[in-house]
Amino acid sequence: MNFDWPFFWHYLLRPSTAYLNGLMLTLVLSVVAQTLGTALGLFAALGRMSRMAPLRLAMRGYIWIMRGTPLLVQIVFIYTGLAAGGIYRFEDVSLGILTIPGNVQAGLVALSLNEAAYMAEIIRAGISSVDPGQTEAAKSVGMTYALLMRRIVLPQAARFVVPPLGNEFNAMLKNTTLVSVIGVPELLLTTETLTSATFRVFELYSVVALYYLTLTTLWGVVQSRIELRFGEPSQQAKAGSGFGERFFGSVLSGAVRKKA
């Protein structure tokens, strides 16, 4: 077997700055796209369950298209397609010292819009899993739809949404590789660049695979901790009253305990 072990160890343990930048970009893309996708997905889910038929239909159509076409196609369409069609061109945006290149913006938009469609279905299922009696009780004490969603239904739907959300983020970490086709220098494209310079495909792709495996493994640990916090409310009575409080409260108290 032609495997250059020293080369492999070198790139695994002492990655170049470009490589670390690629890793950073992968993380930032994943977190931002997942956050935006979840927020948009929430609105899409509510629209999908709306009493207004046109809105419901529009959201169904949106979900149908985004889930029914390849993400790779969507990425190219949004960045290259829209520009070529003279509809919209993503330009670099300068925020003081930080410049966000157009292709990164387009990648983020594509990943977020795609994720929103999947999250919409997950959140819709979560909301449907909450006993309708909860909604009726909330109405009977004078809550409006917006208030009862925010205070009663969504906090309970979170229990059903969190496990698949973790799954989605895991997939997102790997889906970011697709934006390499529009030249976003994330982890995979950085690897490809290195490969074409060194011709060490086997070694470098083993390295990048291990990097992704590390990311998803670390996330798995975080995910199982979050899921614990979203279990039966009575089981976590000690950890605080709100879900946020419970989660962050335990993280904080854990940190305090370690220091003490």
Partner: protein, 272 residues
């Protein structure tokens, strides 16, 4: 139950003032679920302080009727006035148009509802359930709401359960929390939809005791229930529903001793 319920309404500042003597006025209410007509012209007036117990076989429309009274169900025709105002609808040129959500929500604040299956907010403690709407709907300061909620819970015999989650409470305890949750909004009318039907027999008494005390304190109540002992003792008026209509109504004395309709007689003989 530990300690009889007493002075429950005192903890929410006494019996809410009524704007009208007729708390409920339903006129010729009709409703269908698809091809099935469940309410075929129901008219009922309930005066302030009255306790009305509705009985009837399952499918007679009694639960649907009570749910219409706070617009959890829409109606097809007729009028329902609660506290002097049309509930759930505005009348435009003689036709009913569904009211804006905000207005419906505002009207529901004054109507308490207790469900067969309790429907406590599962992610909130007993106290959390009671203070949720006062804080987030009425905007009462949290400290004030907590003080009121604790008093209210102790008056229904749950002083030691304020921090318990619904899943840690028995059915009877959950239902008493549900009653306290409704009362925290200072309603002028309480609707009870088979409040003891989902309870084990030994827990029915503790819930009825709270309801009995509420009636004593002058709360206007409409109760769908087959607890005939409770009805005999507490009801001002009995209503028998059958096939989407009110078959007969009257004071319990007469109603139980000498029901006018054969169907009422037959029904009573089955459940008594």
């Amino acid at each position: 139950m530990t300690g009889a319920a007493e002075n429950i309404l005192a903890s929410v500042g006494g019996l809410p003032e009524a704007s009208t003597d007729e708390v409920v006025r339903a006129i010729d209410v009709r409703k269908s679920f698809g091809p099935l007509q469940v309410l075929k012209g129901v008219s009922l007036t309930v005066r302030r302080g009255e306790v009305v117990v509705i009985i009837g076989a399952s499918g007679s429309g009694k639960t649907t009727f009570v749910r219409c009274l706070n617009h959890l169900e829409k109606i097809d025709s007729g009028r329902i006035l609660v506290n002097g105002h049309l509930i759930g609808y505005r009348e435009v040129a003689g036709r009913l148009v569904e009211d804006r959500e905000r207005n419906i929500a505002r009207q529901r604040r004054e109507i308490g509802m207790v469900f067969q299956r309790f429907n406590l907010f599962q992610h909130k403690t007993a106290l959390g359930n009671v203070i949720e709407a006062p804080v987030h709907v009425l905007g009462i300061p949290k400290a004030e709401a907590i003080a009121m909620g604790c008093t209210l819970l102790s008056r229904v015999g749950l002083a030691d359960k304020t921090d318990a989650y619904p899943s840690q409470l028995s059915g009877g305890q959950q239902q008493r929390v549900a009653i306290a949750r409704s009362l925290a909004m200072k309603p002028r009318l309480m609707l009870f939809d088979e409040p003891t039907s989902a309870l084990d027999p030994e827990m029915i008494g503790e819930v009825l005791e709270v309801m009995r005390e509420l009636a004593r304190e002058g709360m206007t109540m409409i109760v769908v229930s087959h607890e005939m002992g409770f009805a005999r003792e507490v009801a001002d008026r009995m209503v028998m529903m059958d096939d989407g209509q009110i078959l007969e109504e009257g004071p319990p004395e007469q109603f139980f001793r000498n029901p006018a309709h054969k169907r009422t007689q037959a029904f009573l003989s089955k459940i008594l």
